[in-house]
């Protein structure tokens, strides 16, 4: 049986910022994500082209 050791310090976890249900919903909402797919790709391409 593994030594369970000291409690993992999780006090910080109680005070973190959590997403709203709407934010979580948008993360996998297909129409919104299709739009984000285009936007993020353009942002990344801009970053790459800036160096080239």
């Amino acid at each position: 049986m593994p030594n369970r050791g000291p409690a993992v310090p999780d006090e910080e976890a109680a005070s973190v910022t959590l997403p709203t249900r709407w934010t979580v919903f948008l993360r996998t909402f297909l129409p919104w994500q299709a739009w984000r797919f285009l936007r993020i790709n353009l942002k990344m391409l801009g970053m790459v082209r800036r160096h080239h």
Binding site: P2, T17, Q33, I40, M47
Partner: protein, 483 residues
């Protein structure tokens, strides 16, 4: 006829060799030396490590690709560099120990230009009990990742029998880098445990040498959101809390036993943590190349830092953190000792970490090393190839630059692989190394630094996987795909 020799066939070496071959006429020789005869798209090892991919999906044999494109391939370990040749012949050469020949089968490989892209040596030995041959898993190679996937399967089987399991993921030493890869693994692991319907029996713990979550060895980043500049630590903590992952920061793992690890923290504390499954990345060093002058006198310390990484055109003068500058970082990656010698990717020695260094009361340095993988590695490989080709054509000095303090990076960190319910964190950061003179305050251009989590990131991650493997296979149109 000239010969460009590239040591290493990872992201930096393969990119450098591919562009050198493209830009040089076939009368010139491009030779790649590597002990590994398969290309590995390392970022996807994460998915091998959770059992979603097999090693053959993230690797392919290099020899047919090189044969098709006229790149000579030597399957062996580069052991020694002789930048002045030897007493009998003044042409520089590399001593290569061939894999097929066994010990002592050395090949003398002359070069006109040498690009050292040997990548890291995985230093599991720096922490007692660390590594797949001892007590913890890794995803550094496809083989390691496959072992991790099998260990995960066994843990899931135990959970299906009702046993609770503790998973510890992170880095196995205070001086590690690549925290981003370990981060990807832990969130993918959590997602996979949910998909296998055993999540409620799992406790998942992140252990890291970062001072704050989200540092990733590049001093973290700030992102604009709702009128605020929010640090990455907030986003990372949020992601972990949302998924029920607890964390231990500022930790140096000292010892890993079969069912527990002991660690030291920056405040001088010591603790033990039991586990049933541990995936802990190792620290890196250079691969141990040695160098000799014409008389046979060893000059390794002239070419390399004590950690084995190659000194290039950076400023390596030891200075306190407050005096570090973006200008310390190398731009051309040319060795100051020999103008026909370059380093690319992990093989070059960073002048110092990017994150503020911290030392525990016992004197243990607990600071992430500077990451230089993925997109920066490829961009450095391409810039070095450009300089080498131009110098072969008569340019007196390197013509291309790729300073990490002048380049941005785009990163997509998988947080769960499913085409409809998966997510990934998409980030861009500019520049990689903060430049506090150009961008007072945070050191970065806030218009070009952003991050968000969503399914779109997962689609991009899948797209990048296929696109970069296509590019690495040098299929038609490969130069059009950016690094």
């Amino acid at each position: 006829m000239s010969r460009v020799v590239v040591l290493g066939s990872g992201i930096a070496g393969h990119t450098a060799a591919s562009f050198a071959r493209r830009w040089l006429p076939r009368t010139e020789t491009v030779t790649v030396v590597s002990p590994v005869d398969r290309y590995n798209w390392v970022p996807s090892n994460i998915w091998v490590g959770v059992g979603l991919m097999q090693p053959h999906q993230v690797t392919f044999p290099l020899a047919p690709v090189y044969e098709r494109h006229g790149i000579e391939f030597v399957h062996g370990f580069a052991r020694q560099i002789h930048p002045e040749g030897d007493a009998g012949d003044s042409r520089p050469f590399v001593a290569v120990e061939r894999v097929a020949g066994g010990d002592g089968d050395f090949l003398r490989l002359p070069y006109d230009f040498l690009i050292n892209a040997t990548g890291p040596r995985l230093r599991f030995d720096m922490t007692e009990g660390l590594g797949p041959e001892a007590n913890s898993m890794s995803v550094c190679t496809p083989e390691h990742a496959q072992l991790a996937a099998r260990a995960l399967d066994r843990a899931v089987e135990r959970m299906r029998r009702g046993q609770r399991q503790r998973f510890v993921v992170g880095v196995g030493h205070g001086g590690c880098t690549c925290e981003g890869a370990a981060f990807e693994y832990i969130v993918n692991l959590e997602f996979e445990l949910r998909a296998r319907k055993v999540r409620e029996l799992a406790e998942i713990v992140w252990i890291t040498n970062e001072y704050e979550l989200g540092d990733f060895g590049m001093a973290g980043m700030q992102m604009r959101r709702s009128g605020y500049l929010i640090p990455a630590s907030i986003f990372t903590a949020s992601l972990f809390a949302e998924r029920g992952i607890s964390w231990i920061t500022r930790a140096h793992v000292r010892k890993v036993e079969p069912d527990r690890l002991s660690y030291e923290t920056l405040d001088g504390g010591e603790a033990e943590l039991g586990f049933d499954f541990a995936m802990l990345l190792p620290p890196f060093s250079g691969v141990g190349l040695r160098a000799f002058d014409r008389q046979g006198t060893e000059i390794t310390d002239r070419l390399f830092q004590p950690n084995g990484f190659m000194r290039v055109d950076g400023d390596y003068t030891p200075r306190p953190f407050e005096e570090w500058s973006a200008r310390d970082w190398p731009r051309t990656y040319q060795s100051p000792a020999y103008p026909n010698l370059f380093a690319a990717g992990i093989a070059f020695a960073p002048p110092h970490p990017i994150s503020r260094p911290h030392t525990s009361p016992r004197g243990t340095v607990i600071t992430p090393a500077a990451p230089r993988t993925g997109m920066p590695s490829a961009q450095i490989g391409r810039a070095v190839a450009r300089s080498v080709v131009d110098m072969l054509r008569g340019a007196p000095r390197p013509t291309a630059t790729a300073s990490m303090a002048e380049m941005g990076a785009a990163c997509v960190a998988s947080a769960g692989a499913n085409p409809f319910s998966g997510t990934a964190a998409s980030m861009t950061v500019y520049p990689v190394v903060p430049d506090y003179e150009r961008y007072p305050g945070y050191g970065r251009d806030m218009k070009r630094t952003f991050g968000e989590i969503g399914l779109a990131g997962h689609w991009i991650k899948i797209l990048l996987h296929h696109m970069f493997i296509y590019k690495a296979k040098l299929r038609p149109g490969w130069p059009l795909i950016p690094e």
